[in-house]
């Protein structure tokens, strides 16, 4: 256990005037899962990019395989040193099969032709090694995200990786899928492979990791074994540098008139028989596994996924929701999941992203008023305590948490009566998470209604008045806050049928 495979010492790194790493040390041990923790912008990704050969350090050394290096030249050099990097964005080619993806660039040939038989056999061996039973001839597009992740890791293992860096591998996975990934991780650990695990989910870290290192503002603030003395609270405190508490977050509120009713909503192969409603000031949760249909269901509710069967009734009026613009005008805001794909527009600056839904209203006659725009961005930067140097900077210059706040500003700016938030804290660090939860609660007290869509049961349990659990496109149960527990949600989300719950819901 005690043999060190990689030792990074005194690592410094700056981007222009901004120093992001200050003499950071990191020791990785053979056959160990090492959690690398910190808020967004703490320097985790930079440190891992240095280890993965993506960036050179300004100062410091990396000891690996008995050699002391000034830097790892590039990703190919990293690969040769046995370092594999699993990025958050998967790099598989969806149109190819699993074995074609595994062997891409290293195809086995028989003369001038591909030796598919051998490649398929070898793929099977690797897949067995990571403990999944998949047919190597399956096209990657048919796999769910957790299996794609597994294939990505299998590809790294093909190059005899001894160190695997996993950047938030579970961010878009459901609990069952996470269990798959964890099973694979422990089997790799038992084979003597070291894993660096970056995650914002501290519960997972406690469950799977045996060592940890916490970075804060580019400094290493804590490191050690995960034993009985370490718990989530201790680590969160290290991460933010102050005490954090979710206690007293939920406030009981009076709810008002019926705002939105959905009756028998259905779209083939996506969701069916969806009946639910929300009142003014209510926070309603929707949870389930990934692919349970809640994303598609609510895209239909906001008009971005039509046509549908069934009725959507907004403030007592039946509405045909066939464009997002219609729902927006009806006072419905939407914070979609997958910020990079659906939330931010990467080529536009921070101000333009924040004002995208309201820019029509910031005009003087025909042209956009810089003053009104400034007023809008200043207001939300303050309200959401965003850290922004200059609103003219690209949106991509912000940390994940601040990008999410920019998307929130866009949603709040239209003064909505209802906000639908899908995975509102995806890739957001603990500090910003708490701020977003408090904001939801605060707005709900002012009469704004929320649908919170999340795969994380604790999130909906913490915030919501009522929780709907979905499974394979159907609402399986409606739980009141008082009766909902994580166990009950898990049971229903995995397809379990509980008669008592069901009758309670329909009664």
């Amino acid at each position: 256990m005690s043999d060190i495979v990689v030792s990074m010492k005194g690592i410094d790194k700056s981007f222009s005037e901004n120093k992001v790493l200050h003499g950071v040390e990191l020791n990785l041990y053979k056959g160990s899962i090492h959690a690398l923790l910190g808020e967004n912008g703490a320097g985790k990704s930079t440190l891992m990019n240095i280890l993965g050969g993506v960036l050179p350090p300004d100062e410091g050394t990396i000891e690996i395989g008995g050699k002391t290096l000034k830097k790892i030249a590039d990703t190919i050099a990293a690969k040769k040193l046995g370092i594999g990097f699993v990025h958050q964005e998967l790099t598989l080619l969806n149109d190819l099969t699993i074995f074609e993806n595994l062997f891409i660039g290293d195809e086995i040939k028989k003369g001038p032709l591909l030796d598919k038989k051998t490649m398929i056999e070898k793929s099977k061996e690797i897949l067995d090694r990571v403990g999944v039973d998949l047919d190597p001839k399956t096209p990657v597009r048919e796999l769910n995200t957790s299996y794609k992740q597994v294939v990505e890791i299998a590809r790294i293992l093909m190059h005899d990786a001894k160190i695997i860096i996993m950047d938030e591998p579970t961010a878009s996975l459901t609990d069952v899928e996470i269990a798959n990934v964890f099973k694979m991780m422990s089997s790799l650990r038992d084979q003597g492979i070291s894993i660096v695990f970056i995650s914002h989910k501290l519960g997972e870290v406690m469950q799977i990791c045996d060592r940890y290192t916490v970075l804060r503002n580019g400094y290493m603030v804590a490191t050690g074994l995960i034993d009985d003395t370490i718990n989530e609270h201790v680590i969160a405190t290290h991460m933010v540098g102050r005490e954090l508490s979710y206690d007293g977050l939920y406030v009981k509120r009076e709810t008002g008139d019926m705002l939105l009713e959905v009756k028998g909503l259905e779209r083939e192969r996506e969701f069916k028989n969806a009946d639910f409603s929300i009142k003014k000031g209510e926070i309603v949760g929707f949870t389930g596994l990934l692919g349970d249909g809640r994303n598609e269901l609510f895209e239909s509710v906001v008009g971005a996924n039509s046509p549908y069967k069934g009725e959507i009734i907004l403030r007592g009026q039946k509405v045909k929701m066939n464009s997002r613009n219609k729902s927006l005008k009806g006072g419905v805001s939407y914070v979609p999941r997958n910020r990079k794909e659906n939330g931010i527009v990467k080529d536009l600056n921070i101000a333009t992203n924040m004002t995208l839904s309201v820019v029509e209203k910031l005009k003087n006659l025909l042209l956009i008023s810089r003053r009104k725009e400034r007023g809008f961005t200043d207001k939300y930067i303050k309200e959401l305590s965003m850290s922004v140097h200059n609103v003219k900077n690209p949106i991509t210059s912000l940390s994940g948490g601040n990008q999410q706040k920019a998307v929130l500003a866009k949603a709040l700016g239209t003064n909505p009566d209802l906000i639908i938030m899908d995975n509102p804290t995806q890739g957001v660090d603990v500090g910003a998470k708490l701020e977003i939860y408090s904001l939801i609660m605060q707005l709900a007290q002012q009469g704004v209604s929320f649908f919170v869509l999340s795969s994380e049961a604790p999130e909906v349990l913490m915030l919501c008045d009522r929780i709907f659990v979905m499974f394979e496109g159907e609402i399986r149960a409606e739980l009141d806050r008082s009766e909902a527990t994580e166990q009950k949600i898990m049971f229903l989300a995995t397809g379990g049928v509980d008669e008592s719950v069901k009758t309670a819901a329909t009664a």
């Binding site: 464009s323 997002r324 613009n325 080529d347 910031l362 025909l366 042209l367």
Partner: protein, 349 residues
């Protein structure tokens, strides 16, 4: 220690300058070429007549490139602008010859430009056909219609309907041709500024205001950069795409009026043949991304000028015209490489 700190300061400056250069690569490519021209053949190049000539010659490409910028920012491309110019230019001359009214002629021309643009836009936005395919199709269709209509020949301004070349009314033709052939501020010692340059610059200003200072302009950039996010933000992305092509059509029509007035005729086979690639080249030199979401009106303006100065310099230096194409090609590729180096981004295409 001090040395170390100094190097750092130098690095910062270097990086910031690089970023600034990257954002304005077209301007610097243009300046570089301009200085080269002054050094090599300053005495001819710097003469006002020469400078005005460069701008006058490139005003039409400049106007079309403004429309092309929108299409490219939307993540598309148009191969049909040249053929479209021939088609709507023909309509403009026919209407003028029949009515002898330049306003009716221009109205018909712009209307035809917008309608053909709308048609392309609808096919791209509603029927989800890639713009490359759509405009490849419309390019051949438009060209074929003009060739058929003029039986492969041309049409001069000022010929009455059904007439032949001998019937040409020079006085009437002059009314139309004055659109392009009058110089503003002309005095005895100063040749004045040719009107096409004024049109071009005025349209640049309008398009700059439209793209950078209106809500619709921002919607165009958002749609081109991330259609899904734009749609979920309440932007009517299909309408925006159609609008982009319609405006491009209108720009082509304005370019057609200026071109037919300058030449006084249209050729069904030759008019606008080189315009497609020149317009795309100018926009690309101007820093637009073929993947959409990026592009600047100022960039396009200097992109057009870069190509113009290049061609002019080669002509002054007596380089064989057959080689001009090679030089232009090199400049397009060189400008894009320079841009990537400067702003340090690698772009997947």
């Amino acid at each position: 220690m001090l040395d170390h700190a100094l190097t750092k300061v130098r690095n910062i400056r270097g990086k910031d300058i690089m970023r600034f250069l990257g954002n304005n690569a077209a301007l610097f490519a243009f300046l570089l070429l301009f200085i080269m021209a002054i050094i090599l053949r300053g005495e001819i190049f710097l003469q006002p007549v020469n400078i005005l000539n460069i701008m006058r010659h490139n005003a039409i490409i400049g106007i079309i490139a403004l429309g092309m910028t929108l299409v490219i920012v939307l993540g598309g491309v148009s191969l049909s602008v040249g053929a479209q110019l021939a088609l709507v230019g023909w309509i403009s001359i026919e209407v003028f010859n029949a009515t002898r009214n330049i306003f009716l002629a221009m109205l018909a021309c712009v209307a035809a430009g917008i309608i053909t643009g709308l048609l392309e836009g609808v096919l791209v936005a509603k029927f989800k056909v890639p713009s490359f395919i759509v405009t490849l199709g419309t390019m051949t269709i438009f060209r074929s219609i003009v060739l058929y209509g003029l039986t492969g020949g041309g049409l001069m301004v000022g010929i009455p309907p059904g007439g032949v070349g001998a019937d040409r009314d020079v006085e009437v033709a002059r009314i139309y041709q004055n659109i392009s052939n009058v110089n503003l501020f002309q005095t005895d010692d100063f040749i004045g500024i040719p009107l096409p340059i004024i049109y071009w610059i005025a349209l640049c200003v309008l398009m700059y205001l439209f793209t950078s200072h209106t809500a619709t302009g921002r919607h165009i950039f958002a749609t081109g950069s991330n259609e899904k996010a734009a749609k979920l933000s309440g932007i009517k992305v299909d309408k925006i795409r159609i609008l982009g092509f319609a405006i491009c059509g209108a720009m082509v029509a304005l370019g057609a009026v200026v071109e037919t007035a300058r030449v006084g005729a249209i050729s069904s086979a030759a008019t606008g043949v080189e315009h497609n690639l020149d317009a795309i080249a100018a926009v690309v030199i101007g820093g637009a991304s073929m993947a959409g979401g990026k592009g600047r009106i100022s960039g396009t303006f200097f992109g057009v000028l870069t190509l113009g100065v290049m061609t002019n310099l080669l002509a002054i230096m007596g380089v064989d015209p057959f080689l001009h194409g090679a030089a232009r090609g090199l400049i397009v590729i060189g400008a894009v490489l320079l841009q990537r180096r400067l702003d340090g981004t690698k772009e997947a295409t």
